[in-house]
Symmetry: C2
């Protein structure tokens, strides 16, 4: 088996981008109309790769944990998002160029300018400015230009500190930073105005009269919450359970310019795990307890550092770094999923949100961040939304969104209960009776006990709403009564893992891309077979009709084995066809030539090594089936079939 | 094997609706907020049923015919739909109640009122008024009330004629019908105003400045067309090929009130088959030629009838009833697909659009209509959009959306070609030279031949833009030249099958629903295993821990066999659990009881007959696997395992 050097050439984003564009993984939507920032279409390999990632996600999460799948609408009437808080708070801070009116995202502006000043400082001090980043910067209009100016040592410290906790700043604080450090629009060198909030939801209106405002959902979560009672019923009234949904969401980003990493329309997968707030343990936590994650907690970030800690999730939960078992279970399962589909574990970390950074609904939140050419990118969020959503929707609609649980042992409590003699009450206080009743009704147990004592003495006086009431035992009695509670009613908490498939897909493509040592022009995507668009390429030597029956036979046999194959009978050389499919990530190829027709043999090629084996057609199909299913690897396959030296005997 | 009478009780839509609501197949979206007309959420069984229908669709169409799958954005900038014609013409006609301002869809109003007058006429004549329809009508506010009034025979004829071709009327014509027949808002008895167009697209705006209007797509098709050049390139420049896409689309319906049959947001599947306009044959047409369809062509409808003709698709294409083989191929494939997933073939017909009814882009169109309680509903459209879309987008953007095909034999043509002597031209006519050149450039071959003859005589005179030009051979020569064309360039035509999955899903549920003869309260959904949410229900006698290992074993073995199962260990009787799963359409159930623990036997129950068989666990798994895969049917299973009489020996 050949040894492959995948890092002979340093990663070059422009080469990857060119490949993805050429092979139509994805492309700017409405390209022939000039495109629209933040909107992308997936072509055949991209949509297939995404579909395979989602299929694996369904297996890994929904099927494995018996989640209840949902499919709810994108168009949402405004009252829902008014209640959820999105109308008021789902916004980013933007600043306007004071002269041109250009709109910039405030946090991105601060980040770009400070990063470029730090780079300029390193250059001035004669330290290596990160060359790759610089090259990229030059191509992006809005990136701040790097000028070699040395900064005072204090400034370097300050800037680094700001950048480490950038997500923690409020809008006004970002404005202050702009003033303090004279941060300007790098395109024009003009000052920028005060940060203003811009709501990220796309607005529309429902129905022909224009009277019903609606928004496109920015997440699928509300659809789960609004159906909570139905889901609970479907689950026979029991918690914990999780609902799950894959679907489109929309965010009207201020100025998206990072490819698939920041888009205005995206496919996401969301899980809402409903759990008893008093018991966030997880019955399967023991299965993941020993999995080691790279953790970056909020304390480390606030201290100005981004140093991760490698720790088992069991230890992290035991030590209170991760809040509870259920949150921990999902972090570990997310880790397993991302690695399974091909994300490089060394470039994956879990970062905890800092206080100000958390979404308005969250009480704790960890992001799975994946490193790529633009830095660390949030690809999965995992938030504990507590009881926030169910509570606000219940309060707004008056619908109880609660779990009612039969208690094993009824809880018996004793309470002082006040009772008025209605007749005497009316006669004595007339229209003020209500005020008095309200005042007594609002008393706590201690107050009632005290009042009871006073009444036992003969009379008592209380004041309410500026009035004095004199009370006697014939007007009011207070008695100790026993209550038996056999049902416990509670609003469940929600743990929410939320996946952005476009970001996962893009970072996976980066982690999979390399160029052949001997020819930098020959790019390869080493995607795992589990997610590759095509598993096996069938390559007939030519499009001559005599190959048709064999092509048909091989393709049918592969389909029966559950392997998705494609035929490439285009009029180019076999080498070019393989090169094209290396770019598409196709892990295996089988070639049918004249020897195949005569001897019923077939060669089998592996993408990364380009090694070829040869054998009888059925043997090759058996081996490639196992390779795709992952029951054997390529070295094992090399033991099963002889190497092919490029020459076959043909009579 | 027991015989089952599925038609003991007449179909009752309210019972089906109650079942679908109770089991959360789907429910009004934002229900706790009062709901929004035309928006529905799918619960676990509904989303799973839809996912299975879509998975089968992908296999049946995309995989089988090697289509190129796409995933394009929903949010679309306005210029795209301005070009496609949707901004101007994707509209319904609405009328307003002249007093209340209520909005009604004009064609629905005419239909409701005329239908109810015809029903009143039948009643007055002592003929049976359709009782089921009447009951339903009473529940629906907007349906016109049926009053027993006899109509003149002429009116009956006229009304029936209007209803048979209702889709053929323009807005002004609908307004005329309202005036002529005094059609009023049935709710208020008020007159209605002139029909006005209401555009069905949801509008929004893209970006923070509000300067870029956008629409939510009402179909996925434009996403295919805009990517045509990329798709063609991906297919190595060759046609025919098809792209396919499953995704959400949006239509802001005027007043939707027909459950899943008319909604504002829906999942659709669209195929765009790009084909040479000069050759619309299909290489696989011979495989479907003999399939017999129920056809209702436009001539029959215009004559006022709705009588279908049963005809093989081969004959229909041969006789020109269906325009071409490719259209015919898809009609037959659509027919096969719908029957495969469980649609009753006797309630399926293909109806051709009449002239005025066709979408603005179509040159021929057939709808697959499925009969249900509300009548015949379009569930799949199959249109020949000709070169419309590619042509308009190409003209607008200046991008060539064409196929370039190498001709086998170059086409050689001879042409007269004019050539000016630029020097003499400039000297003679100065600034008017351009006018002259343009005039000559626009001449056709006949004119050039004539001019050449005149020049051969010495001189000629032509006039252009009010000026006279005298021409001589030293100024202009015209020569016969030979041209060789080796590339043919053409805009492909598009055949578009377009599927509304919600409508298919609802009609399938209607066709599958029945109530047990002995108990009308016990509803059953006889969905085919291929689409049922759960294939096998595992029912442990109780939730006692001793059943756990067996439940685990059976569920793991089924999963390995690729069969999706669910465990129901809720605290109700086995009978109730089966009844619940009959409502969910689960075709098979296996029961684990104390005998299972002791003897390793298991019973197998079939949903429709409720018959039970018994056998060793592994035998039962083998049989149920074949049942689900469709390789054996229930009678065959009854030959493989002994019947279970309800008693098992337990020591």
């Amino acid at each position: 088996m050949s040894v492959v050097n995948k890092s002979a050439h340093p990663f070059d984003k422009s080469r990857l981008d060119a490949l993805l564009n050429r092979r139509f993984f994805y492309a700017p939507a409405f390209e022939i109309y000039g495109g629209v920032a933040g909107l992308y279409d997936y072509g055949p390999p991209g949509s297939s790769l995404q579909a395979n990632i989602i299929a694996e996600w369904r297996k890994h999460f929904i099927v494995e944990d018996h989640m209840l799948e949902l499919d709810t609408t994108i168009m949402t009437p405004a009252p829902v998002f008014e209640t959820s808080g999105h109308v008021a708070r789902f916004a980013d801070w933007m600043v306007k160029d004071t002269k041109t009116g250009d709109v910039l995202r405030a946090d991105h502006l601060v980040k770009n300018v400070l990063q470029s000043r730090l780079a300029g400082d390193r250059e001035a001090r004669g330290l290596a400015a990160q060359p790759k980043d610089d090259e990229k910067d030059k191509k992006k209009k809005k990136k701040a230009k790097t000028v070699a100016v040395q900064l005072a040592d204090d400034f370097v410290k300050e800037f680094e500190n700001i950048l480490a906790q950038l997500d923690n700043y409020s809008g006004p604080e970002l404005g202050e930073l702009c003033r303090k450090y004279d941060i300007r629009n790098p395109d024009t060198d003009n000052e920028v105005g005060e940060p203003q909030q811009f709501n990220l939801m796309f607005a529309s209106s429902i129905g022909p009269t224009g009277q019903h405002p609606g928004f496109l959902r920015p997440e699928t979560a509300q659809g789960h919450f609004l159906n909570f009672s139905r889901l609970l019923d479907f689950n026979n009234g029991r918690v914990p359970f999780a609902s799950a949904q894959v679907g489109r969401s929309f965010r009207n980003e201020i100025s998206p310019r990072a490819g698939l990493l920041r888009v205005r329309e995206f496919t996401m997968g969301e899980i809402e795990h409903f759990v008893d707030p008093e018991d966030k343990s997880h019955s399967r936590f023991h299965q993941v307890r020993d999995i080691v994650l790279s953790l970056l907690d909020r304390h480390v970030q606030v201290s100005g550092s981004t140093q991760v800690t490698h720790m088992s999730i069991g230890e992290a939960v035991d030590r209170g770094i991760v809040a509870n078992e259920t949150l921990g279970y999902f972090l570990a399962r997310i880790n397993l999923f991302l690695i399974k589909i091909g994300i490089n574990p060394d470039r994956l970390r879990f970062r905890q949100h800092m206080g100000n950074e958390m979404a308005h609904y969250a009480t704790d939140c960890w992001d799975a961040e994946i490193e790529n050419a633009t830095g660390w990118t949030e690809c999965v969020g995992c938030a504990d939304r507590a009881a926030y959503d169910l509570s606000v929707h219940s309060a707004k609609t008056g619908q109880p969104l609660v779990v009612r649980q039969a208690l094993k042992e009824p809880v018996v409590t004793e309470k002082e209960v006040p009772e008025f003699n209605k007749k005497v009450l009316g006669k004595t206080y007339g229209r003020d009776a209500g005020v008095l009743q309200k005042a007594v009704g609002e008393m706590d147990q201690a107050q009632l006990t005290r009042l009871k004592g006073e009444l036992a003495q003969g009379s008592a006086t209380i004041s309410a709403e500026g009035k004095e009431f004199s009370l006697t035992p014939d007007l009011l009695t207070i008695e100790r009564k026993t209550f038996k509670q056999s049902i416990r009613e509670f609003t469940p908490n929600v743990i929410e893992p939320s996946f952005g498939f476009g970001r996962i897909l893009y970072t996976l493509l980066e982690h999979s891309f390399w160029c052949r040592e001997q020819d930098i022009e020959r790019g390869v995507l080493s995607l795992p077979p589990i997610v590759t668009p095509t598993k096996v390429l069938i390559v007939p030597l030519s499009s001559k009709e005599e190959f048709d029956p064999l092509v048909q036979e091989v393709s049918t046999k592969l389909r029966k084995a559950g392997i998705f194959s494609r035929v490439d009978d285009s009029n180019t050389s076999i080498g070019k066809r393989y090169a094209r499919n290396d770019e598409l990530g196709t892990p295996f190829g089988v070639t049918l030539d004249f020897a195949s027709v005569q001897n019923r043999t077939m060669t089998l090629r592996e993408r990364d090594t380009t090694d070829q084996l040869i054998g009888p057609i059925d043997d090759v199909i058996a081996v490639v089936t196992e390779l795709v299913q992952g029951t054997i690897d390529w070295p094992a396959a090399c033991q099963r079939l002889p190497a092919y030296d490029g020459v076959q005997a043909v009579d």
